[in-house]
């Protein structure tokens, strides 16, 4: 049986453990400054430091949420599986190959967007690829799917 699998993952240059350590380092230095001055009577500095650390933590959490983002496309005989993880949300689409259409459309930047459509659902794919890579990939996918130029 003909099986094709594509998996694209998002780049992240820090592991969760490294990220935690960096956050701890930043929080420790910012809060110790705030604490020392608070003990000296300038307590508003501690409030601002806490606010600062909260902001950094929020930023790191936003980044961490996308750590495991991926797109997966599996064509196994007549079965098509599209699985997309974006932050905490994992979406799966099981379709039947003859009904799946590939939509290619030019985006506003002059690049190309790809999407798969079946049963009234349109799912953008190849968003973790560059324009060049997406174009090359689209040529491979054309062998599998009916192509609609939008």
């Amino acid at each position: 049986m003909n099986r094709i699998e594509y998996r694209w993952v998002r780049n992240s240059s820090l592991t969760p453990e490294q990220r935690r350590r960096f956050l701890l380092l930043i929080a420790a230095s910012v809060l110790s400054v705030g604490l020392i001055f608070a003990l000296w009577g300038a307590w508003p500095i501690l409030l601002f430091s806490l606010l600062n650390v909260a902001l950094i933590q929020l930023a790191f959490r936003r980044i961490a949420a996308h750590d495991g983002d991926y797109e997966q496309l599996v064509v196994n005989g007549a079965d098509v599986l599209v699985e997309i993880r974006c932050a905490e949300c994992v979406q799966q689409f099981h379709w039947n190959l003859p009904w799946v259409q590939m939509i290619c459309r030019a985006d506003k930047r002059g690049g190309c967007e790809l999407a798969l459509r079946s049963h009234g659902r349109v799912v953008p794919v190849g968003r973790l690829l560059s324009d060049e890579q997406r174009f090359v990939w689209s040529k491979e996918l054309r062998k599998q799917f009916v192509v609609v130029i939008d």
Partner: protein
């Protein structure tokens, strides 16, 4: 909709929607970099105009153009505009342009926050400068905003405090963005110890900003509550401690100097090896030196306060701690020189500014070591010696590095070449007039001329005259810079793909010239 049958792959800087709304809403790091750079250039001339007024007043003894109170307003707003409106935004502009391209990222981590960071700046500077038009005038306490002056002044001081808040928020948001971008979005293979030194400089700077900006923000907030809400943090009349303000301000203020110089070190560390056509000498020691400078910057703030009457032990601690800064700084200077040694040197404009930076910054660094010696500092405290010192650090340091960086990356940003002859002329005029302006101020300071005065005794007349002539020349030579840039943008020849043969960072090796509007949508593999 068009077909992608034969798609147009976006590899050129071709996505131009250049309306005002585009710039207000843009989230592209290159657009935002442009906004920062143009903004800081405009502010350079605003702050510069104030400097020209200051030097016009000091051209000869007596009061010519402004009264002493307005003179102090000029000095205060000149300092604040140059620091918060010129040097910091310009460096952030470089960060926006360069960091994603140098680490192989598609953009900054938080693109909308990046936009917000920039757009907080114009209202901030408008408040600063707008205070001139209030009945009581602008803040006149010097950029340090010491109480009791700052507790007593009019609404202009409130506007200054609000401006500092806005610009502080902008800096904090910008730093969070830079830290998350550098740490999380490096291309595979781009380990921390493979990052270009400009990126290292900014990583350390962003960390410093995060550590000290809450101190500045809360200090000016306490000042505001002292002024308007009856608290007495610093108001001695209510039992407050003005000395605490000095400690808090300089705990922010000294790292702030490094915030303005570490990215400049980074720029110079990119340019010197490029034009020496050699790898940078001692990469790791350069990184450790920057980290050391940042760490030491937290324990030297007291050297700004030797004259306030701290205990002798305190003075000694701050004196020795300050002298230690010279060690990592010396490591950097020696490494730059070692990089130049036996290099295949050429002296294009960026290299001239880089050499100018190294030579003149060393003068500023040495006068810094002189000022670190407590007994000497007590004598020259608050004199023109200090003015000369920090202008050697911040003008021939930060501003020269900014100029070097603009000339260096201009072809990559725009795809155009500037006029090399005019660029070199700009350098020589800047370097000569800069020294004419600020070198005599060392002598004025040693002779005892205090800073922040509109009039002075006759004995200081000659050096002040020379200094003013130099300042007018320096100001005029910066108009040449604007001409060079505008000429290059409009009529510049097309830049070769890699105009500097020694350039080896990602943006030069893997991106076309000019850099495409969207670069590194997927990260490259760094070996």
């Amino acid at each position: 909709m068009s077909s992608i049958e034969a798609p147009t792959v976006t590899t050129t800087h071709d996505y131009h929607r250049r309306g005002l709304w585009h710039y207000i809403t843009t989230t592209n790091h290159k657009d935002i970099g442009n906004l920062y750079l143009w903004f800081s250039l405009a502010m350079f001339f605003v702050g510069g105009a104030l400097a020209m007024l200051i030097r016009a007043e000091l051209f000869q003894p007596g009061l010519q153009f402004v009264d002493p109170y307005f003179y102090n307003e000029l000095v205060t707003i000149h300092g604040l505009v140059m620091i918060f409106g010129v040097v910091m935004p310009a460096l952030t502009g470089f960060a926006n342009w360069q960091i994603p391209m140098m680490i192989g990222a598609s953009d900054m981590a938080f693109a909308r926050m990046n936009n917000l960071s920039f757009w907080l700046l114009p209202p901030g500077v408008m408040l600063l400068v707008g205070a001139f038009f209030t009945p009581d005038g602008a803040a006149a306490s010097g950029w340090t905003l010491y109480p009791p002056l700052s507790v007593q002044q009019g609404v202009g001081m409130d506007m200054t405090i609000l401006a500092i808040h806005l610009m502080g928020i902008s800096s904090i948001l910008g730093s969070i963005n830079i830290i998350t971008t550098i740490l999380n979005m490096r291309a595979p293979g781009m380990t921390l110890m493979k990052m270009p030194l400009f990126v290292w400089g900014w990583l350390i700077t962003a960390y410093l900003l995060l550590a000290v900006m809450p101190v500045l923000a809360s200090t000016v907030t306490m000042l505001l509550t002292d002024r308007r809400f009856g608290t007495s943090f610093f108001n001695a009349a209510g039992g407050g401690d003005p000395m605490m303000f000095l400690h808090l301000f300089w705990f922010f203020g000294h790292p702030e100097v490094y915030i303005m110089i570490l990215p400049a070190f980074g720029i110079i560390s990119q340019i010197v090896p490029t034009f020496a056509r050699k790898p940078l000498f001692g990469y790791s020691s350069m990184v450790y030196a920057m980290v050391s400078i940042a760490i030491i910057s937290f324990i030297v703030w007291g050297h700004h306060m030797f004259a306030v009457g701290m205990p002798a032990q305190g003075n000694l601690f701050f004196m020795y701690a300050t002298m230690i800064v010279a060690v990592p700084t010396g490591v950097k200077v020696f490494n730059w020189i070692a990089t130049l040694w036996k290099g295949s040197l050429t002296f294009e404009t960026p290299m001239l500014f880089a050499i100018g930076f190294i030579s003149l910054f060393v003068i500023g660094g040495l006068s810094g070591v002189v000022l670190a010696i407590t007994p000497v500092d007590i004598n020259v405290h608050n004199t023109y010696y200090v003015v000369a010192h920090f202008h050697y650090v911040l003008v021939s340091g930060s501003v020269f590095a900014l100029m070097a960086g603009v000339y260096f990356w201009f072809p990559k940003w725009t795809g155009k070449m500037y006029d090399e002859r005019l660029g070199k002329l700009h350098f020589w005029l800047s370097a000569i007039f800069f020294n004419i302006t600020f070198f005599p101020q060392h002598f004025l300071g040693l002779a005892g001329m205090p800073r922040r005065i509109a009039d002075y005794p006759l004995q200081f007349a000659d050096f002040n005259l020379i200094s003013s002539v130099g300042a007018f020349g320096y100001g005029a030579s910066q108009l040449l810079f604007v001409y060079v840039i505008l000429k290059a943008l409009k009529h510049g020849e097309r830049s070769p793909e890699k105009p500097w043969e020694g350039a080896d960072t990602l943006e030069w090796q893997m991106l076309p010239t000019p850099a495409p509007y969207h670069s590194f949508e997927t990260p490259p593999l760094v070996k």
